[in-house]
Symmetry: C2
């Protein structure tokens, strides 16, 4: 019987484990499932080898292995038996003719699906999934990312490599501090103080994997189920989902040209004080507006009055074109209300996962303890390499250099949009940030355009990634146009395809320039 079983499930196709491991695993399975009972004799190695067409040595090795592990026992001059110490489970033995010796594809325990969600399936236009056989679009207009082709990746990898050879590496390859590399925290404190007028020390900094982890840690630390969190709408959906995951009640605050509506915040505070307000004061995501001086002042006063935490997401500090970048709220924080989060996602590349959280030492120390339980620590080699780039001024130099490049691309993209897409959308040139916020004309469906564009080779936002409340109908669809990751020729090509994808929505009365259906 055992031979019959093994013949059924045994696979010699080379896709699977080595034969001896397969045989070992199959015999253990047969024992566990009660097909082979404790004390039962196994076929001789010669017999089994013959019927399975295996080398006899393979079977002998398998029996020895099973013996060493306690599954079988060898009785002298008699043969190999299932170990008599094992429990008898033949009462619930499976049908010997069943092929059910394979892995279950379903969990055998209750799983409550509690995936946080705003109710729609969002396709994140920013994610590059690299799977073989999938066609690559000609162009992709993203949500506002830098161009990694001009980023100091070679310098970073050079540092990484240097560490890979140095004596110090052996320490860096062991476990390290959950708060992040000391060296990086010191360099980052200098960098933040210098560029953002802050006054922080390395003790008030936690190195994270990108801004998202800083948002997650802050939320897990401060927000309990039922707490209220004020969030901007439109806003950043992955932050909102992190708040929902912690059980927060989200209250949506409208955003206008001066940023989040602080009048509304004040009204709502009088009714119920939030635990936390999430705010992106500089280049609000997605609309790129910057919180006005007057609102900054009032918001800080409200924080002092009502003692809520302000989670300041400064994801996009470096690229501002009308003046110097605005100082973060954190640089004005004399009363300890701000948790300041950011990353090198925009100044190096999104794939280089170095972010940070700045807060009073007691908060950072709690966040570090929590982080230890999540993933123990960051990538020390990468953190050290980033510290070297900061210390050598490479990152500042890169920001300065790319600032010019991106400003050129912004002007070019604005020009192209005005020249080619003015029938379909309106926008204002942003003061900074890596994207343009545009409004489609009435009745143009962002998702239909995205679908058309994809067929023509352009990947572009379907407009679903900006509002968290999916069921409120709006007269216009919106789109965030990242203008940095494509150079001038590429952007011209992308906008050309985009225009073609928009043709079905062309205003009816015009028609001279052809191309209208």
């Amino acid at each position: 019987m055992i031979k019959k079983f093994l013949e059924i499930s045994f696979k010699k196709d080379g896709q699977h484990s080595p034969l001896y491991l397969q045989l070992e695993s199959e015999i253990i399975q047969l024992i566990c499932r009660g097909v082979l009972k404790p004390g039962q004799a196994l076929p001789s190695s010669r017999e089994l080898a013959q019927s399975l067409k295996l080398n006899r040595k393979t079977v002998v090795a398998t029996y020895e292995e099973l013996g060493a592990q306690g599954w079988v026992e060898t009785r002298e001059r008699s043969g190999v038996y299932v170990s008599s110490h094992l429990p008898d489970t033949s009462a619930h033995a499976i049908n010997p003719n069943s092929k059910k010796l394979t892995r279950s594809r379903q969990p055998g325990y209750p799983l409550i699906i509690k995936r946080p969600s705003n109710g729609t399936t969002r396709i994140d236009p920013n994610v590059e999934i690299i799977t073989p056989g999938m066609p690559t679009p000609l162009y992709k207009i993203d949500d506002g990312f830098p161009d990694p082709r001009i980023a100091p990746i070679e310098q970073l990898v050079r540092e990484y490599r240097r560490f890979g050879k140095s004596r110090l590496t052996n320490r860096l390859l062991m476990y390290g501090p959950e708060q992040g590399s000391y060296h990086l925290r010191v360099e980052l404190a200098k960098f933040l103080n210098k560029t953002r007028g802050m006054q922080v020390t390395e003790k008030e900094i936690l190195i994270t994997k990108g801004t998202q982890m800083a948002i997650y840690l802050t939320t897990q630390l401060l927000v309990r189920p039922g707490d209220t969190v004020f969030v901007p709408e439109p806003g950043y959906l992955d932050a909102n989902e992190a708040f929902k995951l912690a059980g927060a009640n989200l209250v949506f605050i409208p955003v206008d040209k001066e940023g989040m509506d602080v009048d509304r915040i004040e009204q709502l505070c009088k009714k119920k004080v939030p635990k936390m307000i999430y705010i992106i004061p500089h280049h609000h995501r997605p609309t790129t507006v910057t919180l006005s001086a007057e609102r900054r002042m009032r918001l800080m006063n409200l924080a002092r009055k009502y003692r809520f935490a302000l989670l300041e997401d400064d994801y996009d500090f470096d690229y501002h074109f009308t003046s110097s970048p605005l100082l973060p709220l954190a640089s004005l924080d004399t009363a300890g209300h701000i948790i300041y989060v950011g990353s090198f996602c925009k100044s190096i590349a999104p794939g280089i996962r170095i972010g940070f959280m700045v807060a009073p030492e007691v908060v950072i120390s709690e966040a570090a303890a929590l982080r230890k339980l999540i993933d123990r620590q960051g990538e020390q080699l990468l953190e050290e390499a980033t510290a070297e780039l900061l210390s050598a001024g490479e990152i500042s130099r890169h920001i300065k250099k790319s600032h010019k490049v991106y400003q050129g691309r912004l002007e070019n993209t604005c020009r192209l949009l005005r020249e080619h897409l003015q029938d379909y959308l309106t926008f204002e040139r942003p003061n900074g940030g890596l994207a343009i916020w545009a409004t489609y004309s009435k009745n143009i469906s962002a998702s239909a355009v995205a679908l058309n564009a994809e067929k023509l080779g352009l990947k572009i936002s379907d407009g679903r990634n900006y509002f968290f409340q999916p069921n409120i109908s709006r007269p216009h669809d919106f789109i965030r146009i990242g203008y940095c990751s494509l150079d001038e020729t590429e952007m011209a090509g992308a906008i050309d395809i985009w225009k073609q994808a928009l043709t079905p929505f062309a205003p009816k009365k015009k028609g001279k320039n052809g191309s209208v259906k």
Copy 2:
């Protein structure tokens, strides 16, 4: 007055922001704190420059910047004024003589410290904190880590570097799949199937940052406050803390020479079915024992009967010396009970943060959605580099090579322990794993020994990292002796110091060999 203020808080010491940023930030502060009122005139740039001993251009630039940001307004032929649109907060203005314009070091919001803990402050002997000025111990006996000096780090960094130069890099530097690199998941599925007799596909794998993240994700997915989780005692404390963090009630299961006590588990299941059992069947951490065949069978049957999840931590698969490594429970899992977690921490290095979680696709997909909110994704360059090492067979070759090295070090360490420390501790040679579990003689305090050793230049466990229940007194202290990260000479040196640190505990009656007090 403004001049007086600025003179107080202005720092020209070069440790801080550039002067124009400091000045900008200070003036904004004075406005926000109500010292400067809306509409109030500011000193002329010439006047301010003189009194602060700054270049007048700096002050002019600052005023322009403040104007662009809406803090001040320039009235023609009159001068610069605080913007009259700002709210008047002079009602709660701070005392003009106070120096309180600096950052608060305390949070301005309620912070509930809920750091999970077993009640003691544990010093993790495995963590290397690299801060300048701290003396490095001569030797360190760790908890059971590999020797990164023989790990394929150069190969890894070479791959990393290759990606740093290739065209593909630009995609790898953008956002990627939260489930981890497709390439790595495919290679890892092959590797697990080949080495562990598993039958998984890339869809059933999530790439994590080390085993800890796999444990955290599983727990957040399955365990709700009040759920029961069975854990081994002694066991792995960072896992226990992750369960506590999710609100689990921990039930401690004793561990003997055959692993976790399955009789006890069966008894307890009859009273209350756990949501999950955490188990380390292969080289149990810390005691290094392996779960017997009989217990494996019974545990799998209990899982089917009571429908609990089994979180199988196979942190230390590769190094087994008496037979091939034992197949994980996951290779026998026909009913979907196992969540299998592991990492390359032992086969490459702890600092290379690549781990994995294997479970049915629906569980993996939930875990990936959760992971996206935590830190969005892993380090794609590192994941691709690891995939290359796997695919080229580098990791398998390294395991084979290091297997021999470590077996030699195990024999050597056992010999040294028997020769030099037999008066102080007992141990059994382990069948595998990277550490030896030893029991100190009665009345030897592991923490006192660790303290003595540290003074002499040896870092060694204080014995607190193995039991989660701190208040149960035990007749003996224990220690886990990692024998892999030191070579034979280094281990001889380390054990020599250890012996000196043990001298105060020398048995009284002996004395011939000197060295007893």
